[in-house]
């Protein structure tokens, strides 16, 4: 199914779409308020973009430096070329430790590698401990947003899920009650867990340490209780020096939710004596993206989700309509690099308004890359006949003024005199869920000529 077809499904519930749209726009507004409080915000974005550009141009050396320093600090480093290798490595560590129960904090990488189903098939219990991720896990759905995984669920839906899975009493979706019930349940899971898996927000080449950011404290609850901690990171998470964290931590939470910083920004450098700390460094298509000059900077992404919150398409189509681990504008420039055919409709899920580019804390030119993917998609992937013919006809009409005038006149005539069922038929997508404007007799050209004449 294409993005627009899936978006149509999401749009069946109008109340929900309107809520989704407004809720995310509210987050965007909070981002603005937080950003405007910071002196030198635009300079911060430039710095972040510049640091990331340097990282990509020296990535191999930074990774080696990181590995060396991490090893010196007693961290065990693994490398995985793809999702299969990543899952295999994680499972090996679990098997070696005889682990049956795993708690996981948010990691888009492990989503991308489909780690959960892989481990579950091997009889290992994996519990997602971020509340939003826990909700989508028990709903058997993927996250629909990278920062707000369950933003597509109403509180009443969460209430029902919790009744079924946690045995809660019906509360009409009381967020305090439901959060507290989840807290109790997840505390048990933290206590029982053999191994904790976390993502990595930033890995520092200079020190061999890494930083994990959460608001709930779930990454730390898992990592400090279990005897083994596995942190999984994409190769692009590297930054050169610890002082660069000052730049990125100032940008991340403000861009994501409008908070000045996440509640917990935990700096892991050494394992506790007697415990194991592993890092799995994963490529899984990232070096392919590195090779594409036009799309390389998509690897700057720090996964804040600001481009999703601001996107008029994302807000009204929902994350699941993208059918990709990373939805929204950034996902639409990352996913075609992974599977052009499967994700060929994503670069078109945009108005090219450029709002994503304007809010991106690491200045990825997202809308320009969307446009560039469109050029590739239309060349390499078969386009529907209707779309192709319409664009051809429009091309001809626009290049011939007389034909254009005639087309305009006919359209105005039809809109004015044709019966409603014809104008608002399925063919006219502009008539869906909205009234077309009142038709005037003149076009701009005629109106202008008359005006000129009257004014002498």
């Amino acid at each position: 199914m294409s993005h627009s077809q899936k978006a149509a499904l999401f749009n069946k519930n109008e109340t929900k779409v309107n809520w989704h749209d407004k809720a995310l726009w509210f987050v965007r507004e909070k981002r603005d308020t937080a950003a405007h409080k910071i002196k030198g915000w635009e300079y911060l974005r430039e710095l972040a973009s510049g640091i990331k550009a340097n990282v990509l141009s020296n990535l191999d050396n930074y990774l080696v430096q990181f590995e060396q320093n991490a090893k010196q600090n007693g961290i065990i480093v693994h490398w995985a070329s793809n999702a299969e290798e990543h899952n295999l490595i994680v499972h090996k560590i679990l098997a070696k430790n005889n682990a049956k129960k795993v708690v996981k904090s948010k990691s888009m990488l492990t989503e991308e590698c489909h780690l959960n189903p892989y481990l579950e098939a091997k009889g290992i219990e994996v519990v997602d401990t971020d509340l939003g991720e826990y909700i989508v896990q028990i709903a058997k759905e993927p996250p629909s947003h990278i920062v707000l995984p369950a933003i597509h669920k109403t509180k009443e839906e969460v209430d029902e899920l919790f009744q079924e899975h946690l045995g809660t009493t019906p509360s009409n979706g009381n967020p305090e009650y439901l959060t507290n019930e989840a807290r109790k349940h997840l505390r048990e899971k933290f206590i029982e867990a053999d191994v904790a898996i976390t993502g990595v927000n930033f890995a520092v080449a200079e020190t061999g340490g890494f930083v994990v950011c959460t608001n709930e404290g779930n990454a730390d609850m898992g990592a400090h209780l279990a005897k083994v901690h596995i942190a999984c990171m994409g190769i692009e998470k590297i930054i050169p020096k610890e002082e660069h964290l000052g730049v990125f931590l100032r940008l991340l939470a403000r861009s994501a939710t409008g908070q000045p910083i996440t509640t917990y920004s935990s700096h892991f450098n050494k394992p506790v004596p007697g415990k194991e700390l592993h890092i799995v460094i994963v490529d899984n298509g990232r070096t392919d993206q590195l090779s594409r000059e036009d799309f390389r900077s998509s690897l700057h992404c720090i996964r804040c989700g600001a481009c999703m919150n601001t996107c008029p398409i994302y807000r009204r189509s929902g994350g699941h309509s993208y059918d990709a681990t990373i939805p929204g504008p950034i996902g639409s420039i990352l996913s075609p690099g992974k599977d052009l055919k499967k994700h060929s409709s994503l670069p078109f899920a945009s108005t090219l308004c450029g709002s994503c580019t304007n809010v991106c804390p690491v200045k990825i030119n997202i809308h320009e890359q969307l446009y560039k993917w469109r050029q590739i998609v239309t060349k390499d992937v078969k386009q529907p006949l209707v779309k192709k013919s319409i664009l051809k006809i429009v091309g001809i009409v626009l290049s011939k003024p007389k034909l254009y005038n005639l087309a305009g006149k006919s359209a105005r005539f039809v809109l004015k005199y044709a019966p409603r069922f014809m104008v608002y038929s399925n063919i006219n997508t502009w008539g869906k869920a909205r009234e077309l404007p009142e038709v005037k007799n003149q076009n701009f050209d005629d109106w202008y000529k008359v005006k000129r004449k009257n004014n002498g």
Binding site: L63, L178, T207, E216, H244, T263, V272
Partner: protein, 193 residues
């Protein structure tokens, strides 16, 4: 397994070296009231602030705020409220029952209300997360303006584990309604001395 292949692929695909930008701290220079800004940002992130005239009032104040706390770990000599003592070899799971932890903050960051705390102040890493409530005792003199200054302050530390902690654990994952107290501490009180 993948190491050689990944590094080779990066070498083949990376662009020509782009210089690493220098951070010009002058761009962020601002005159701010460190104490007042810090206090208002702690409140913004859901924490409470108490200012003490004398450190001797610490325990009385904590008793006022957390009258029901029984199982208390106090990691500062300024407090005598501790009922459970912990050491490096304490099983972290045993801290599940802790009502209140009192730890010393190294310094606060005014721009975001965060406090740097590290393993040096709590021998068991899970303590500030697993405790039901958390008190951080911080000297008013130990405040810095931005995260840039903060990283200068910790540049020469013993690196094992530490964190910037800003407010109590929270979530808005159910319909964007902010709920304080997700998986970590339910409340945070910063006592400024």
């Amino acid at each position: 397994m993948g190491r050689a292949a990944i590094l080779k692929s990066i070498q083949e695909n990376k662009p020509a070296l782009v210089p690493l930008p220098k951070i010009d701290l002058n761009s962020f220079d601002e005159i701010v009231d460190l104490l007042e800004t810090f206090k208002s940002n702690v409140k913004l992130v859901g924490g409470d602030v108490i200012e003490l005239a004398s450190i001797n009032d610490l325990d009385t104040k904590i008793n006022d705020v957390y009258p029901n706390a029984k199982k208390i770990v106090a990691q500062t000599s300024a407090s005598n409220l501790g009922t459970i003592s912990i050491a490096k070899d304490t099983d972290p799971h045993s801290l599940e029952i802790i009502d209140l932890a009192i730890v010393k903050g190294e310094f606060g960051v005014t721009e975001n209300g965060a406090v740097w705390i590290s393993e040096e102040q709590f021998p068991v890493r899970v303590l500030p997360f697993i405790t039901n409530d958390l008190v951080i005792v911080l000297s008013k003199a130990d405040l810095c303006d931005t995260m840039h200054s903060a990283y200068k302050k910790i540049a020469n530390r013993q690196r094992s584990f530490g964190l910037f902690l800003s407010g109590p654990s929270k979530t808005a994952d159910i319909e964007q309604c902010l709920v304080i107290g997700a998986q970590g501490a339910m409340s945070l009180t910063i006592v400024l001395v």
